[in-house]
């Protein structure tokens, strides 16, 4: 095992991909000379040269579309769209090309494309730079949506994405990059579509993903001190969704809370809640609860941003109400 | 095991023997065998259950020390502490 940060784990997967597969190249804003908006690609330009670590102009629709074209034509591009906030400029390319062309072409064309982007709030970057829209992407059939929450998954899920014949979108919560953790460098790709139980418990099931895992585990710790054993499920992948693992846990606990940094209405948490209701109705001793962001554009001031975001204390409060 | 855990275990074992007895209203300082209509066979089964669950082998000469619920609790807490497995009530 080797201790490294989340950004180093992602970088080690990128380097391994570039070394092992000549079709792989990285494209994105300031991934080269600037060393990466979040310093993930730091050093790769010097090691692999400008052809395979390509700085792009600020043209999101163009370079995502180009990534799609290159993937169709035999390459294995890894496009970094800096943050989910800028990806909105490329949504048409993502939805109407990347996710749809295989189906529209009657199966003739597949698009082996990996797109990475940072996501989430919590760093006082105000409304335009703090979105959590993974749920939008998970709504789209034809693509996979991965949300690595741990250092090991930061590497493992990226390696797995590179084996997929169809587009994979990886969302890295911006607060995770400095996170430290153990990584087994010989471990190959992780498994896509499988949730992981990060903590077992019999009283309530906490379902979450990506940047919210840390807060959820913190809440579980506080609840344990008060005699409530929470089971924490890290989804790791929003599409495909591992509903079986969720229902198996709810069958044991009869109570479920979904923690999701997105806005409550139409959030991915709403989808998880619906699937629990559809698949586990008879198991429920309490309505499924959701802990999401307040439905406001993210304010700049720290105390306002903290109030808008789901916090460990919010999760603890919601769970305790289920045991009044 | 805290006192609370000992108490709930003892009550559960007694309820196995006397299922119809209303354990919630058991008087802690009155003889158990009278309150719950327990004969020597029942009491032996209770002793065997305590041994199986709490790993405390109660010799016959100690039977009188288990006459009431409180006495039984105190006796078991003592034996568990001696075996280094009891915790003060947190």
């Amino acid at each position: 095992m080797k201790r490294m940060t989340y950004r180093e784990a992602v970088r080690s997967a990128l380097r391994e991909a570039l070394q092992n597969d000549p079709r792989v190249f990285i494209m994105g804003e300031d991934v080269g000379r600037y060393g990466g908006y979040y310093a993930v690609t730091h050093g790769l330009l010097e090691e692999f040269g400008p052809e395979r670590v390509r700085d792009t102009p600020l043209s999101e629709a163009a370079y995502v579309g180009a990534g799609i074209g290159a993937a169709v034509n035999g390459m294995r591009p890894i496009v970094e769209v800096t943050t989910i906030n800028f990806s909105l400029l490329a949504l048409d390319q993502i939805l109407n090309s990347a996710a749809t062309i295989r189906y529209m072409s009657g199966g003739q064309i597949n698009i082996p494309l990996v797109v990475r982007m940072a996501t989430g709030a919590g760093r006082q970057l105000a409304a335009q730079h703090s979105h959590s829209l993974e749920g939008w992407y998970a709504h789209i059939p034809g693509i996979s949506v991965l949300t690595p929450a741990t250092v090991a998954d930061g590497r493992g899920l990226l390696l797995a994405a590179l084996n997929e014949p169809d587009p994979v979108f990886i969302f890295e919560h911006a607060t995770l990059y400095p996170l430290e953790g153990e990584v087994d460098e010989d471990a190959g790709p992780a498994k896509i579509g499988e949730a992981t139980v990060r903590r077992t418990g019999n009283h309530v099931t906490l379902v979450t993903y990506g940047g919210s895992l840390g807060k959820t585990m913190e809440a579980a710790g506080q609840l344990a001190d008060e005699g409530i054993e929470a089971e924490v499920i890290d989804l790791r992948s929003l599409r495909p969704l591992d509903t079986a693992t969720i229902l198996a846990s709810v069958e044991k606990t009869h109570r479920a809370v979904v923690v999701d940094e997105a806005w409550r209405t139409g959030s991915f948490a709403a989808e998880v809640g619906a699937q629990i209701m559809e698949g586990g109705f008879d198991l429920l001793d309490w309505p499924v609860q959701r802990v999401c962001s307040a439905e406001v554009p993210m304010p700049y001031a720290k105390h306002m941003e903290d109030a808008a975001l789901p916090q460990a204390s919010t999760i603890v409060q919601v769970v305790k109400e289920m045991f009044q | 095991m805290t006192d609370e855990e000992i108490r709930s275990t003892v009550l559960r074992l007694l309820s196995d023997i006397a299922p119809e007895a209303d354990l919630a209203s058991i008087k802690p300082n009155v003889n158990i065998r009278d309150q719950l209509d327990i004969d020597s066979m029942d009491f032996l089964n209770f002793v065997i259950a305590v041994d199986k669950e709490l790993h405390v082998d109660i010799p016959e000469r100690d039977y009188p020390k288990l006459a009431t619920l409180d006495a039984c609790m105190a006796y078991l807490a003592e034996r568990l502490k001696a075996a280094g497995r009891a915790r003060p009530t947190d």
């Binding site: 700085d55 909105l88 970057l125 109030a307 | -």
Partner: protein, 328 residues
């Protein structure tokens, strides 16, 4: 490049001192912002204007009170010259409720509807169609207003740039497109981002009159901007100005500036718009040391008062979290 002829004409002394004062005020404001960021008072992102002051000060001379301004996240200079109170900008960067956006926006998102300062737009290029819309409304109501749309060379690579210029030209909308070409889009130099680096030339391809101007010379910018604004005000459609300038600090506070050499920065600093203009004022006998001291004194007093204003400012009450999401 049209620089020589404009700067030969000597401005009035008071006007020249005012131009210098405004540029110096921006520079000192950015300096204090950098200091407060490193001390943790200002958080999030901070993009400073050092080196580009001549563009804002020069251009804003021909923008009237009821014209509109659309800016980007590197907006401090634009807001100051537009007249947004310095102390409200400082409080906004602190995230206080007495900030110009109630503490909601921070450094990148100043707004002041009363002064038609329609904000810092954080997504590169996103201000362009916004400005086109403002101008369309003025045109539809026959208002002789100009909408000044400021943006950087990074925006030129965005699709929205081309769509906006075409629309403005097609419908002859009263937009003054002012591109602050500081040669870098974050860490990517213009020659590594644009196949055609002559941005004014690109604008002409949309049948928009366009000229480049030395963005380090406040008088040159002032002259070009006046011509452009007058043309726009006459309703002949949009005009495009490419101010070639340079930023002396990093893209933002966390920028190690690996993409450019120190000599290049040093070279451009020799053309510092403030020190050069100050020299010319001295040559013209307009400026004495005591003038400079007075100017510096009043600016630092204004800034110190602004810091105190921000420090004392109240935090927005958490109960107001959901206010202003919608109008109802």
């Amino acid at each position: 490049m049209t620089t020589e002829h404009a700067s030969l004409r000597r401005p009035e002394r008071d006007h020249a001192l005012a131009l210098l004062g405004e540029m110096l005020r921006i520079r000192r404001f950015e300096d204090k912002a950098a200091e407060l960021y490193q001390a943790g008072k200002i958080r999030g992102f901070l993009h400073l204007y050092d080196g580009e002051e001549a563009v804002a000060v020069g251009a804003m001379q021909s923008i009237a009170a009821d014209d509109s301004i659309v800016s980007t996240y590197r907006e401090h200079g634009h807001a100051l010259v537009r007249g947004l109170p310095l102390d409200c900008l400082m409080a906004e960067m602190y995230g206080k409720a007495n900030g110009c956006s109630r503490g909601r926006g921070g450094s990148m998102h100043f707004f002041d509807a009363s002064r038609r300062f329609y904000g810092g737009h954080g997504i590169v290029g996103s201000g362009l169609p916004f400005a086109v819309g403002l101008a369309m409304a003025d045109k539809l109501r026959d208002e002789k207003h100009v909408t000044a749309c400021l943006f950087g060379d990074g925006a030129v690579a965005e699709g929205i740039f081309h769509e906006s210029l075409n629309l403005a030209a097609l419908w002859k909308l009263p937009v003054l497109f002012l591109c602050e070409n500081n040669l870098y889009a974050m860490g990517t130099g213009i020659e590594r981002a644009l196949s055609e680096t002559d941005i004014a030339l690109k604008a002409r391809s949309y049948a928009i009159p366009a000229e480049a101007v030395d963005g380090m010379d406040v008088l040159a910018v002032e002259a070009s901007a006046r011509r452009a604004a007058d043309a726009v005000r006459q309703g002949k459609g949009p005009v495009f100005l490419e101010a070639r300038t340079y930023r002396f600090r990093g893209h933002s506070m966390a920028d190690p500036q690996l993409y450019r050499g120190k000599e290049e920065v040093a070279e451009w600093m020799k053309r510092d718009p403030i020190t050069n203009f100050e020299e010319r004022l001295r040559d013209w006998g307009f400026l004495s040391d005591s003038d400079v001291r007075d100017m510096e004194g009043s600016i630092s007093a204004e800034i110190d008062a602004a810091v105190a204003f921000a420090e004392a400012g109240p935090w927005e009450p958490v109960e107001d979290l959901t206010r202003y999401v919608t109008s109802r």
